[in-house]
Subunit: 145 residues, 2 copies
């Protein structure tokens, strides 16, 4: 019942990207230093986010990654669902899952549907901008002139 490092690191990386001005690329090397996560592992995460269209990436010497939208346009749910897969607490609620044969007499399906809903509603009520503001508040981001 835990969020994996993929999802947690993805949020930390997105916050880091959000500290940069629009149209500016940030390299994984830099994020790796600031967030203490290996470049190689970050690459896997940017792969997911890039494929899902959440970030734009550019190769080469001056390349890196940048947000595809403004920080307030991302919810935490958007980012977690890409990196963690569905937030559903049971497999039978996943989109790709086969219908459960116990569904007819299942006493708990509404329970799980409800739990999925409160989780999704909660993470969709918080934006990347909210996280960025927390980060600034706590001084994790040094203001640069």
């Amino acid at each position: 019942m835990k969020i994996s490092t993929k999802g947690r690191y993805a949020l930390r990386m997105m916050v880091e990207l959000a500290t940069k001005g629009e149209g500016q690329y940030t390299s994984l090397k830099e994020i790796s230093k600031k967030q203490d996560i290996s470049v190689k592992y970050l690459e896997q995460i940017t792969g997911m986010l890039s494929k899902a269209g959440l970030i734009k990436s550019a190769r080469g010497a001056a390349g890196g990654h940048m947000l595809a939208k403004r920080p307030d346009q991302y919810t935490v749910g958007d980012i977690l669902r890409v990196t963690e897969g569905s937030l559903a607490p049971v497999a039978c609620l996943d989109e790709k899952s086969l219908p459960c044969e116990r569904l007819g007499t299942c006493a708990t399906i509404e329970l799980w549907q409800g739990l999925a809903k409160v989780k999704n509603d909660y993470v969709d009520g918080i934006t990347l901008e909210d996280l960025l503001n927390k980060y600034k508040e706590k001084g994790g981001y040094e203001y640069v002139i």
Copy 2:
């Protein structure tokens, strides 16, 4: 981010125990048949529930398991926290965990605390009796005269 079989089976078993009158033992053999879960695996789950005081168990020929309280006295959260451990989405929120060294600048701790709260509040708002009623509604429990 999934509930494991331990938690799911525990709920199904508790519902099955709840169908029985007060003071009446149910054997794992019977639950195993009705819920199609191996007796051996159910043993592990009853072990946890028994240790936590959620059920009373008796060995011997007429033994089995029974609820320690009325169905409306259990929340789903009570049962899940025993079998799944904490519902916290990140390890640093677990009681026994060491304090996170990143806490000072962590932009996401409030996010995880909030998610833990909505999850716990939700599962604590549903009782075993609610599940039992669903089960009866759906005909999973045959009424015995």
